[in-house]
Subunit: 276 residues, 2 copies
Amino acid sequence: MKLFNKVAIIGVGLIGGSLALAIKRKRLANTLIGISRQRKTLILARKLRAVDVASQDLNIIKDADLIILATPVHTILKIAKNISRLVKPGAIVSDVGSTKQEIVRHLSKLFPNYVGSHPLTGSEKRGVINADARMFNGSLCILTPTVSTDKQSVIKISRLWNLLGARVVHLKPSLHDSVLSFVSHMPHLVAFSLVGSVPKKYLRFATSGFKDTTRIASSDAALWKDIFISNRKSLLKALGTFKHRLSEIESAISKKDAKGLEGILRKAKKTRDSLK
Amino acid sequence: MKLFNKVAIIGVGLIGGSLALAIKRKRLANTLIGISRQRKTLILARKLRAVDVASQDLNIIKDADLIILATPVHTILKIAKNISRLVKPGAIVSDVGSTKQEIVRHLSKLFPNYVGSHPLTGSEKRGVINADARMFNGSLCILTPTVSTDKQSVIKISRLWNLLGARVVHLKPSLHDSVLSFVSHMPHLVAFSLVGSVPKKYLRFATSGFKDTTRIASSDAALWKDIFISNRKSLLKALGTFKHRLSEIESAISKKDAKGLEGILRKAKKTRDSLK
């Protein structure tokens, strides 16, 4: 079933590449166009059969009826401006950015049929070389329509994600950014800080616990710098909560308050145990 | 090859149980005695063939030529006092506690042939039901002899760990506690704090990154309360370093210092990538 005639994905990395592969695998488009600044990426995307047409030129999107921006947050904002006059009337524009308030504010002004989305998947790996057509299977995808978002476009984008195997949840952009600051952005910030704290000569003693806790510190620095700055308001608030919890534990340890400390740890363990 | 005639393991949980299974599998003792306060644990340990003799009575250790304390840190200190008159002359005493300064200080006074050890392995699971004879295979085991530790006892304990598949490294108790505060205790403290920070209603959006980063917050609360309090001096120092790193990132985000922020993240990523 062809949902779209021409789909253009701008940014053919881990998520953009997986999206391209998944859309082709499910035959949801007649033509899949991949756009990247890097020739190497485009050659690889063609080899992996992730795209039908590969181009470095943004002008190629002018016939597309769905355009998905899949670059780092900062670049999404820049490219959106550059393509605003190229998008044909009626074409749907979406993105897969990890923050939504800033992006939705700008892109909904530029495109009448814009729908913000954020598939909660991925890994610390990067690049189309790690793309996986089943990336979205069983995952959660957050859409962030506002009161002014075109209803038909939301239905079509929901359908796309459903067909790729994702459950769709609608959240306001501000709530999305608050939720993600707690469940994703702050854990990344903490992991980067943890790795940065350990004296180099101690690293040979790193345990499996340390490795799990800091795995996401292997994530792409440029990508995460963008996310942290774009979502700084929510993130700094979440960080405040985290530092408060840290202080509670620190204070119980300082006071050798064994009972109080065990209570805090027990509560956290119970919460963590409740996650599958 | 029998390294010991009778080995007594006090505390038959995840580590004590694995140690018992491993020693029996390698036939390093003629008799393996398991001691626990809980009848249930002893019945299970017998069923799993982790021990030859199971007892709730500490008096059973009086014939043992190796006694290993494998209970939580606080209990190690208590039991050590209780058994100090039961240990036969020449018997080696060891422990597998996660902190070493406090334990070595007390136990080396009580037992002439005491050698502190800490196998860097385990998981967030607990109990003899999760014990694994291969737990120590390929792992690192830290021994913490001091200038007054009996050399022959150190050689024998090293040999035991080597035969169980562990590489042995010697560290001073104070250095052990400093290293572990950074690579294990602080990551646990951070994971407990992270889980405790997230509003309950946001948990359904927990990503795989969040789950990895907080996996160790499922660890046993009583065990970790002991470790945090026993190693509080080193741990609070490590926590100071962590909070400093956290502030650096926080400040770069607040100032929208994209370049500075990317530099910090890139450095952390490089370090994390260097760990296998």
